[in-house]
Symmetry: C2
Amino acid sequence: MARIVMKFGGTSMAGIERIRRVAQIVKQQADAGHEVAVVVSAMAGDTDRLVNFCREASSLYDAAEYDVVVASGEQVTSGLLAIALQSLGAKARSWLGWQMPIRTIEAHSKARIEAIDADALTASMKSGEIAIIPGFQGISQDGRITTLGRGGSDTSAVAIAAAVKADRCDIYTDVDGVYTTDPRIVTKARKLKTVTFEEMLELASVGAKVLQTRSVGLAMKENVRIQVLSSFTEDGAPSADDLPGTMIVSESEMEKEDMERQLITGIAHDKNESKITLTRVPDKPGAVANIFEPLAKAAINVDMIIQNVGREKGETDVTFTAPTSDLDRTMQVLEKAQESIGYNRLISDTNVAKISVVGVGMKSHAGVASTMFKSLADRGVNIQAITTSEIKVSVLIEEDYTELALRVLHTAYGLDAEDAA
Amino acid sequence: MARIVMKFGGTSMAGIERIRRVAQIVKQQADAGHEVAVVVSAMAGDTDRLVNFCREASSLYDAAEYDVVVASGEQVTSGLLAIALQSLGAKARSWLGWQMPIRTIEAHSKARIEAIDADALTASMKSGEIAIIPGFQGISQDGRITTLGRGGSDTSAVAIAAAVKADRCDIYTDVDGVYTTDPRIVTKARKLKTVTFEEMLELASVGAKVLQTRSVGLAMKENVRIQVLSSFTEDGAPSADDLPGTMIVSESEMEKEDMERQLITGIAHDKNESKITLTRVPDKPGAVANIFEPLAKAAINVDMIIQNVGREKGETDVTFTAPTSDLDRTMQVLEKAQESIGYNRLISDTNVAKISVVGVGMKSHAGVASTMFKSLADRGVNIQAITTSEIKVSVLIEEDYTELALRVLHTAYGLDAEDAA
C-alpha cells in the first residue's frame, strides 16, 4: 500500500468521456489499496479560452483578476472528476486551492508555492477518500486566488506529493515516458526506465518537453519520485504495479536500480535558439560586460557564448545564443548600445539548432565530448559553438542537420533499441 | 451621493462586448460619486453548459461538486468585469463568495444566505473601489462552495444590498421595468413607476417573470428598495437620476410617493396550471383531507380549490389546480388513493389560465372583484374558479380567452396608457 499523487493534463481531461476514463485509472489505484490524491489541469483549450477573454477585456489586464478568471478552468474539471469517481462508487471530493490552502507568493499569474497545509487533505486520504485538487492555483497571503503560470499543474502535483509525503507522483501525459531522444525523429529511440532529476532538468531545458522544468527542480529539492506515463494506453489503464512509464529519481536511487546504465542517458535538440554575432568588438577589459549587462537588464536569457580572436589586433568577434522569441528585443537592445560596446556589425542567424547529450554517467568517464565532435565531423556537420556542464555537452549546428545529428549520435553512444535495429 | 448595488443578468454579461457596455453603465454611477457594488450572473448559456457537464458525468451528481463546477461561471464574469472597469480607469476588484464571505446553509445547489460579513466590502466601497461580486453563490459552514439555485443572483444582489445598507438595488434585465400587464399581449400596457413588495410578489408568483420571487421576499423582509431597469436602452446607459425603470418599495413609501395611485396595479396571467376534478366524493368530514394529504406528501403545490354541491345527496365534486409540470404525478397520486378517497371519476384539463388582478389599493376599496366578474361576463368569459387574497383576485378561465380577458380587464380598471389609446 502506498500514498500516490496522480496528475492528469488538459488532453486527458478534455471532455466528459476522457474524464470518465481518468476516473477509471484513478479508481484502479484506490481499489489496489493506495491512498490517492489527484491533481488536474483544465480541459484542453479551456485555459486559452479564458486567457483570451482577459486579453479581449483589456490588453493591460490586472493579473489578480486574470487569476480569478483562468483558475476557474481547473475548478470545473476538479468537480467533474469527483462526480465521475463517485458514479463509479468511489469516495471522492474536490479541494480547491483556497480550501486546503495552497499558499503562494502574491506574484499573480506567475506565483510560486510557499507552503501547503495538508493536514485536512492527509486525514481525508487516510479515511479512504480520493482527493481531487485543481492544479495551477493557490491563494495569496491576502486571500486572493493566484496561479502558477502556464503548465503549473505539474508543479502543483509535485508540491502536493511533497506535502503529503507521497511515495510517488505519477504524471499522466500524452507521451508514455521519457525517451533517449525524440522518437518522431529517431525510430530507434528507446523509452527510459529511469532518469535522474539532474538529467531530466537538462533534457527538459533543452527541449524534451515532457515535464515543466520547475516541477523537476522542485521534485529534486523535495526528493519526490516522479513517474511519467500515458493515460492513453490501448490495452486499458496501466496498473500501479506495471510501472510502464519512466521513473525520475535521485542519483543515489538510480545507482541502486540501474547498474547496467549507459554512459549517455538521452540526446535533446532545441530549434528555438538564435545565434547573434558582434564583429570587431574592442578586445579590452569590460568590453564583454558592455554587451551582456544591457541584455541581463532586459531579462534576455543568453545561453552559449563564444569569443573568437579578431582579424585585427585589439579586436575580437563575440557570438552568443538567445531564445528566438527574444531575438527582436535582443537586436534592439544591442543596436541602442552600439556606441558603448563599440562593435562594427551585428549579425543574427535563426537557422541553428542546439544538440545536447545528457547523462550522469559522463561524470566518471572521459571522452564523451570527443566522441560527439568526431561523430559529427565524420558526417560533415560543422560545430558553431560548444557549452558543457557536469552532465551535459551541447553543440550549436546548422538547423538543417538536426535530424542527421540526432541519428548519428544516438548510434554513436550505443542508445539504439535492439528490436528496432 | 448614494450607495448602490447593481445587478446584471446573463444576457447583459454574454460576451466581452456586452461586459464592456456593463462596465460603462457601472462607471457612470461611480463617476456620479456613488459607492457601487455590482452583482453579476454567468454569461448566458454558460451555466447550462456547466450543468450539462455535471449531468453527463453522472445522472446522480453530488450537489457539493455540482456547486464547485457551476459557481465557476460567475467567477469568470466577475474577473472580466473588474478588468473591463479597470481599463476604463475605474478602481475595481472582484470579491468571491468565500472571500467576503457570504455564509449560507449547507443545502448544496439550493442554499439560502444566512449572513454576509460585509465589513471589508464596505470599507473597499468607501475607498472608492467598485466591488464586483459573483451572484448565485456562497460558502457553507464547512468551507465549501454553495449555490442558491437557478436565478439566485437576484437574491444575492438584494442580500448584498441589505448587508451594505444600500440606498437602492438596481436590477438590470432585458425588460425595462414592471408593466401593468404583459405588453406583448396588451399594447396599452403601461410601465409602472412604483410597485410594492407585496404586489410584486403576487405578480411574480402568477407569472410576471421579471424578478425571482425569493429576491422580492428578501427585499420586503430587509426593506431593500429595488429598481428594475434595462441594460439595453438605445440612447446610451440610463443615468442614476433618470430612474427610468420601476421602483419596488414598501407600502408606506409607496403611499408617500404615489398619491394618485390606481386601485389596481397590474394584471398577471399564468398558463402553467392545470385543473383537476374528482366527481362524487363522499360529502363527509375528512373526505377533502383524504384528497390533499397525499398530494402534500408528494410536494405538489395545489393552488385554487372549489367544492361544488353534488348532484346526489351526500356527494360532492372537488376541483383544484396544480402546476401542469406536476400533472402526471398528481394523477398518479390520486389514482392510487381512489379507494381511500372514494371518488367516481378523475378528470384533468390543461386548457385553463389563471388571471389575477393585483393592487394594494383594493385593501380599502370594495367592488374590485365584482368589476372583474362583470367585465368578464359581459364578454362571455366563463369563470371556472376564484381565489382571493388581501391584494389579489384570481380567476380560472378557459385558456383561449386569456388575451381577451387581459385586454378587457386592463381597460375596466382604467390602466390603459393614454398615448396608446
